[in-house]
């Protein structure tokens, strides 16, 4: 059983976000593994472990040949990675990213399952998993909070607004996982050392045969304005001296909800 995991490398989410002059997200400095994708990596490792054969391959599209986040996921136990980094990718939209990732999955070959997270922390378009599925012509099972593989099929519990649905599809397939799916492991020291020598296949847009289809020209959208949102005014703030609940009661009274 071979699983490909899409992992995004993003700026540290703890740092305040900023836009570059071309209105793309600032991605300077070191990037890290999007925490949302650590769930997919862990899930993949467990599925391969249960199957008793196969391996986990990572694919990532990132600027400046960034590998820090990939190394973290390799240290968790993935076998190898494909990194797509190319100046021609600047300005790529979600569909373009999905085209790149789908081609990278084909380049890996031999995958039974592709895992992604439900949405990235920095971009949260949330469309890429299904777009990859459609481009590969594989079923996409989204919002998995539980995954099982067997008999050539993948079965998930798909989170819904009301609870969850059990959804099944024949392999190969794409699945997107939520943060509840598994508890990601911390890389061990041995894992971190081993990760340094694991192969990272670095490819360009041309290698994938996508010249002219991605980047600004392929995006078909242009930012026309960026403005500060109107701020909500803060109101009264009271230190509780043992009777602050009375302020809440009178406020609720005023609003006629009690």
């Amino acid at each position: 059983m071979n699983v490909v995991v899409c992992v995004k490398q993003i700026p540290d989410p703890a740092a305040p976000g900023a836009l570059d002059s071309d209105n793309t997200l600032t991605r300077e400095g070191k990037l890290i593994l999007d925490e949302s994708d650590s769930f997919g990596v862990e899930m993949a490792l467990q599925l391969v472990d249960t199957a008793g054969e196969g391996e986990v391959t990572l694919v990532s599209m990132a600027p400046n040949n960034e590998v820090s986040g990939l190394r973290t996921a390799l240290a968790m136990g993935a076998a190898k990675a494909v990194l797509i980094s190319d100046e021609a990718l600047a300005g790529t939209d979600a569909l373009g990213t999905a085209k790149v990732l789908a081609k990278a999955v084909e380049r890996v070959g031999d995958a039974d399952l592709v895992l992604t997270s439900t949405e990235s922390t920095d971009g949260y378009t949330g469309t890429i998993p299904t777009q990859i599925g459609q481009l590969l012509d594989w079923p996409a099972l989204t919002f998995a909070k539980h995954i099982e593989v067997g008999d050539g099929k993948v079965t998930i519990q798909r989170q819904t607004e009301a609870g969850y649905d059990t959804v099944e599809a024949p392999l190969p397939a794409v699945a997107s996982v939520t943060a509840g799916v598994v508890e990601p492991r911390y890389p061990s020291f041995k894992g971190i050392m081993a990760a340094k020598n694991k192969p990272v296949d670095e490819v360009t847009v041309a290698d994938l045969g996508l010249d002219g289809q991605v980047g600004w020209s392929g995006a078909h959208q242009a930012i026309t304005a960026v403005e500060a949102a109107p701020e909500r005014e803060a109101g009264e703030k009271i230190e509780d001296e043992g009777d602050a609940h009375e302020n809440i009661v009178s406020f609720l009274d005023e609003l006629k909800v009690i």
Binding site: P16, G17, A94, L95, E119, Y124, T125, G126, T127, P129, T130, Q131, G133, Q134, D137, P139, A140, T142, F143, K145, R158, Q159, T160, G163, Y164, D165, T166, V167, E168, A169, A173, A219, H220, Q221, A222, I223, T224, V226, E227, A228, A229, R232, A234, G235, E236, K237, I238, E239, D240, G242, A244, H245, E246, N247, I248, V249, F251, L255, V257, I258
Partner: protein
Amino acid sequence: MSIGKVWVLAEADGDEVASAALELLTKAREIGDTVEAVYVGSSADAVAGVLGEHGATTVYAVDPGDSLSGAVGAAALEKLIGEHSPDLVMFDQSYDGRDAIAGLSARIDRTVLTNSADIRIDGDQVRATTAIFGGTQIVETAFEGEAPYLAAFRPKSFVAEPSGGAAAAVVAVDGVDAGRAGEAKVLDRHVEEAEGPKLEEAEVVVSGGRGLGEAEHYALVETLAKLLKGAPGASRAIVDAGWVPYSHQVGQTGKTVKPKVYIALGISGATQHLVGMKGADNIIAVNKDAEAPIFSVSDLGIVGDVHKVVPKLIEALEARA
């Protein structure tokens, strides 16, 4: 300013139409000369009335059977777009809405704008706005290239208002083949029953966060919500910790609520939480950290311990009842 033909992908909610579809139709009426709906569900005749009342003249109806609704919706839209050439297709930013817009975008090779909060026509451009960095900045993006344009909107971006239109004409769409995407089958559905009003519709929402300390203390939130005839909600921190089911989560990756009163108990007010509740008419927060960001949006902020303030509040409300 208006454009020619605007479509709304209307999702089913059981035998009814999801409320988001009515919000989107209301907006579609404002910007489109012709407004039509594409309904994915099994009871098109039952929903034609309400769709028409909100502005759809025609509803193209497709039954997803046991396939994923989004996968069938995308395939049906591809077929229908080829026949009827809409200029804009609007989707709900829900699970199935996201599947549908994503699948369609790959099928017809069009870009998508998701998480949108508004849309307008400026000359010959269609522009959608979205809030970024936790709602502190608003970005406006114009579609380029060939129509149809595809945009998904956060729930409650628009207020549903009936236009008094007649029932929409139902056109059954047969012979939709979703291909391999349609091979994902729903085997069964689990509904977690909740008492009281729905989180998205409640007049009062009481939410708890990690500041409650432990799972058992969520009972404070539930008791208070019940006393106020409201719904209990949660931050993602306590959903991920397994204290409450995901259906309670408010925020960027959870539900968007716009109640009359939102009460945040032991919630810090991370930007991803704020985007889901900032639209409330009134916000009350209890947090022991005077610097907590939740206070920057609250109308009444209590700097205090939830374990002291909330039991007294419950007692006072019970005394009045």
